[in-house]
């Protein structure tokens, strides 16, 4: 796939503290259009917080984050507008339990007046088909398996036509036999050229799909590189130590 060297996400000097606890200690990351970046690292290293700063679910303490040309540190920026460019998939799916699968997917396009109800329905059905759940349109989230839920959540994020997707440990809460179906959907998205930041514990998947892998520990980026570089020849002792434990 051809990649144009335009920065979709530009992070400079990003710091984030919860009270006196600093969890991000100055990150600098550039992500270009169509790039698939996997973020790995031990628990508590700040991976998820980094991801949540990219759509400002968490406030930034210092530094700048520019997404699709919008500067998130600028208070006048309309976050609701920015967020329509960034889809997010959560570890625990966060589907709306009081709505059907179809209603979950149609909610944002209809409320944001991006599509008429009829168009939104047609688009939603198409998205469901794409994640292999066309027959579950009228089901409630409680009737779905974990893997199915996560595929619906991905379809829901895609419904507002984002050009960036964030995955926050999307397979961590799944039973092992369901991990594959979700990874396949993410793999397909990567193949279509979607810009993605994927926080994951699936090293095999990262090695296969990522254009670049970032290893984080204790709130800093310890090392980054292509999967071949990072997994094949890690330079930093902490990276080597981490990989020796998980691989």
């Amino acid at each position: 796939m051809s990649k144009i060297s335009v920065s979709k996400i530009s992070v400079r000097g990003l710091r984030k503290s919860f009270g006196s606890n600093e969890v991000l200690k100055g990150l600098d990351v550039e992500i270009i259009e169509g790039e698939v970046v996997c973020v790995i690292g031990p628990s508590g290293s700040g991976k998820s917080t980094f991801l949540r700063c990219l759509n400002k679910l968490d406030e930034l303490s210092a530094g700048t984050v520019i997404v699709d040309g919008f500067n998130l540190s600028d208070k006048t920026v309309d976050l609701n507008e920015v967020r329509q460019h960034i889809g997010m998939v959560f570890q625990h799916f966060n589907l709306f339990p009081h709505m059907t699968v179809l209603q979950n997917i149609m909610l944002a396009p209809v409320e944001l007046k991006k599509e008429s109800t009829a168009d939104a329905r047609a688009s939603a059905l198409k998205l469901l088909d794409r994640v292999g759940l066309a027959d579950k349109a009228t089901a409630r989230p409680a009737q779905l398996s974990g893997g199915q839920k996560q595929r619906v959540a991905i379809a829901r994020s895609l419904a507002v036509n984002p050009d960036i997707m964030l995955f926050d440990e999307a397979t961590s809460a799944l039973d092992p036999e369901m991990v594959g179906e979700v990874l396949q959907v993410i793999r397909d998205l990567a193949a279509e050229g979607m810009t993605m930041v994927v926080v994951t514990h699936e090293m095999g998947f990262a090695r296969e799909v990522a254009d670049r892998v970032i290893f984080m520990a204790d709130g800093v980026i310890v090392e980054e590189g292509t999967p071949a570089e990072l997994f094949g020849n890690p330079q930093q002792p902490r990276t080597q130590d981490f990989l020796s434990k998980v691989l």
Partner: protein, 491 residues
């Protein structure tokens, strides 16, 4: 007659009993002295309407019969009004409540079997005495052992808290070696004696005489002790013309013999036919109780609707990001959850008018109290409901680009309402039951109506059983209905 503080009967001995005959004579003499007939009605009060406060149930001075206020006080004030050419509007508030209302000028005068005392004379102006009372002792009808104070050794007796009867009983208890227990009203005292918890009761003789005539199961065994006099009161320095008209009218009724007729009606009447059975009581009391139930439901419905609005408003304040709004909501909740409902009811009905000079009717005060109180609990229900929805739900909504309001409306609230509904139903039931507390400010709801009925017929147990059954039926029907609606809409 209650709360007389300067009654000095510390050394009453048998000699006093001998004086009683003389005292009986004084009643006649003082009555005669007071009647200096002034032929003409007082023109100052002609055509005026005065609001008169009274007790809820102090038979035979004031009580309800077939839903209508009647009794010596009621007949007297109405006849005097007719005699003097003015109109009265009677408000049955309860004794303490009536005095409070008089002080805050919510009523123009009070007639409530009230003893004339020096202390009350400081804040009220009293009319000429219209009735001379006294304490008398009674025992259960079938009691043959007790025929005088001397038989009380080692026994329990009961008297009304803060009353002349209690003062008197305490003054002789050491001499005769008995113990005095205090209760709040006549009907419960009589029940206490009939139940055998106490062997005798000391009560105001007219009250006792009336009760015995109503077959309350007691009999009097001693002569009346000389006691205080009852007077009609106005607020200090207010309505002098009303007081003057009362005195003039009273004198004229005494001269014409109407006064004696009224007393005889209530104190000398032959015993009525034996009391009807339970179903007789049920059919007699049901009209008044249903009226009370209607007011109970009205106050509940109004209060719940207002409380819901308050609860949603302050509940959102509580989860808002503004520290000021959260502060306002917290202060509101802590005030109304941190003080008793009863104190709040007294405050809104008596305190507020005294502070603002603006009188307030009892339904408004009651609904204000209940809705502000329930609103505080609703606030916490709403806050808890919203906060119990997984924060991930809000994050999912916001990450899709939906605004705060849309996320609340479409994602959080539908789930929160489902969580809140059982608590709402619970609060609804609590508020319905809390309306019974409004009886203390004279709101004529179900409990109040029940009190009126047993105060007149002394059938406390049966009447309360009917009242409780009505609450039980209504609350359970409403709960069933609510649960059905909950299941239907919150699937």
């Amino acid at each position: 007659m209650r709360k007389i503080t300067k009654f000095r009967a510390a050394k009453l001995t048998v000699a006093v009993t001998a004086l009683l005959a003389l005292a009986g004579g004084f009643v006649g003499i003082s009555a005669a002295a007071a009647s200096q007939p002034q032929a003409k009605p007082n023109t100052e009060v002609t055509g005026e309407t005065y609001v008169i406060g009274t007790d809820t149930t102090f038979a035979p001075f004031e009580y309800r019969k077939d839903g209508e206020l009647t009794g010596i006080d009621m007949d007297l004030i109405r006849d005097i009004a007719k005699n003097q050419g003015f109109t009265v509007e009677i408000k049955s508030l309860g004794f303490d409540a009536a005095l409070q209302a008089l002080q805050s000028n919510q009523v123009d005068g009070v007639i409530a079997g009230m003893s004339i005392t020096d202390e009350r004379g400081l804040i009220f102006d009293f009319s000429d005495p219209y009735f001379d009372s006294g304490v008398q002792m009674a025992v259960a009808e079938d009691n043959t052992k007790i025929s005088g104070y001397a038989d009380l050794a080692g026994e329990n007796v009961v008297a009304k808290r803060g009353s002349e009867g209690e003062t008197f009983a305490n003054s002789i208890k050491d001499e005769y070696g008995f113990t005095v227990k205090a209760l709040a009203d006549s009907a419960t005292m009589y029940d206490d004696v009939k139940a055998g918890n106490s062997v005798a009761v000391f009560d105001d003789y007219p009250v006792l005489a009336y009760g015995i005539n109503q077959n309350n199961g007691l009999k009097s065994v001693t002569e009346k002790e000389q006691g205080s006099s009852y007077g009609f009161a106005v607020n200090k320095g207010q309505n002098p013309e009303l007081l003057a008209a009362f005195n003039t009218g009273l004198a004229e009724l005494k001269t014409s013999g109407e006064y004696q007729d009224i007393l005889d009606t209530y104190l000398e009447q032959p015993a009525p036919a034996a009391s009807s059975g339970f179903f007789g009581l049920l059919s007699d009391s049901l009209p008044a109780l249903m009226k009370g139930l209607g007011l109970t439901l009205l106050a509940t419905a109004l209060s719940i609707v207002i409380a819901l609005v308050l609860g949603v408003l302050f509940g959102f304040f509580k989860v808002s990001e503004s520290r000021v709004l959260r502060g306002i909501a917290s202060v509101y909740v802590s005030i109304f959850r941190g003080t008793p409902l009863l104190v709040q009811a007294f405050f809104f009905y008596f305190g507020l008018p005294q502070l603002t000079g603006q009188s307030i009717d009892v339904l408004t005060a009651g609904v204000l109290t209940l809705s502000l109180n329930a609103g505080a609990y609703m606030t916490e229900i709403v806050r808890g409901g919203i906060q119990s929805v997984d924060p991930g739900q809000t994050e999912a909504g916001r990450s899709l680009g939906l605004g705060y309001v849309t996320t609340m409306r479409r994602v959080v609230l539908p789930q929160a309402v489902k969580i809140m509904t059982p608590s709402f139903i619970n609060q609804f039931v609590m508020t319905l039951k809390d309306t019974s507390l409004l009886a203390v400010i004279g709101f004529a709801e179900l409990t109040y109506q029940g009190q009126q009925i047993y105060a007149a017929n002394f059938r406390t147990g049966e009447t309360l059983l009917i009242v409780a059954a009505l609450y039980f039926i209504v609350i359970n029907l409403l709960t069933m209905l609510s649960n059905k609606l909950d299941k239907r809409f919150n699937k």
